[in-house]
Symmetry: C2
DNA sequence: AGTAAATATTAAACTAGATTAACATCATTT
DNA sequence: AAATGATGTTAATCTAGTTTAATATTTACT
């Protein structure tokens, strides 16, 4: 089944019965996206929580001066959405774009509450997922203040080697909060000292 | 009842019956802290999710070079904990300290799962709280990359005037990710241009 | 009230990282 | 294989924010 990777993932947090899995399968949407396609655009309302089966997405904000700031990437087994827009159903602050051919499973706003009521274990599952996302986000704040750009890059490369290899360098720079020129300088420096 | 502010707060998300409220009251702990007291120390395991009834706390990390980085403040009706340490029951990355005489309600790790099972509405409540915390945290990341130190301070002062007035300036600087000297410079500049 | 401790200010010298702009390389299409 | 667009590099100049260190001010304690 197309959604098997999702079921496997869920099973590491809570165990669903077969009927529950079938019910879940009937409520979510599997969808393929091409490289470059948008899942969400800044200003639109975020209608889905997306689980990435394959490929890679970036969530980014474009500020008043036109600069792009990448908040997160998502590869297989990661979740992505503009949570603020989703929970309040108001216009999104972020864009979510596929930076590679991707397969996603989408939980729409209209069904997710229903899923929570019918299968309380799913509410538990999402609570745990979001707890983990919060932890990651807070750690990123501390890193952005306590580490130099070079150390932030080293941390990124070490934690997410797959993403580092997959995506263009200027996106890594945006994620790290530095310019592409400066990241280029850092990488050169790392080469000569290693 | 001491925990009334918590019950009021919860009621804005989910509605509990009287029995549920009584049960909840029997499971949580009300505690007063003095200015300067620690609720959690980096390296210890975080045993509680804390709801602030009055006063003010700061959560901060001390990095390898001894520098303090404030991740968040919490005043009345806010929550604080090292979520990463709490959910995995491993040593905390952060300290949580009262920067003013404070009253807290503490949900211990040992009872919170029990509360979730007995009162599923509480699991829903916490899911929603954590969703909001995640949204706030992601927005802070974007601000830290897209705004200048001055604009970050203006945003902070505008969003949290109470905290800005309550706490020493060097803590605001730490929260903003700048030095106290530079914040002093910014404030002077703001005075002359207003 | 007087003293110590904590907090805030100022200014000079310094640096991590930004900006600009020109050039180089790589990938994709025709 | 030439051409186009996307990505990456280099180097010079610039600036937001740091560092250091000395001084001022406020707060809290006896």
């Amino acid at each position: 089944m197309e959604i098997q990777p999702l079921l496997n993932y869920i099973s590491t947090y809570v165990s669903l019965t077969e009927e529950e899995e079938t019910f879940l399968a009937s409520k979510v949407t599997y969808r393929k996206y091409l490289k470059g396609q948008y899942i969400l655009q800044q200003g639109d309302v975020c209608k889905h929580q997306c689980f990435v089966i394959s490929g890679c997405t970036k969530m980014f904000h474009i500020d008043d001066s036109g600069q792009e700031h990448i908040v997160m990437f998502a590869i297989e087994n990661w979740w992505t959405s503009d949570m603020g827009s989703f929970i309040t159903q108001t216009p999104a602050d972020y864009n979510i774009q596929c930076i590679d051919k991707s397969e996603l499973i989408m939980f729409s706003y209209d069904v997710i509450e229903d899923l929570y009521s019918k299968i309380p274990k799913l509410e538990r599952f999402f609570r745990k997922i979001i707890e983990r996302a919060l932890v990651a986000s807070q750690k990123r704040i501390v890193r952005s203040f306590s580490l130099s750009a070079k150390d932030r890059y080293l941390y990124f490369r070490n934690q997410y080697p797959k993403i580092d290899k997959l995506i263009p360098q200027y996106m890594v720079a945006s994620y790290l909060g530095i310019t592409k020129e400066f990241l280029s300088k850092i990488k050169k420096q790392l080469l000569t000292e290693e």
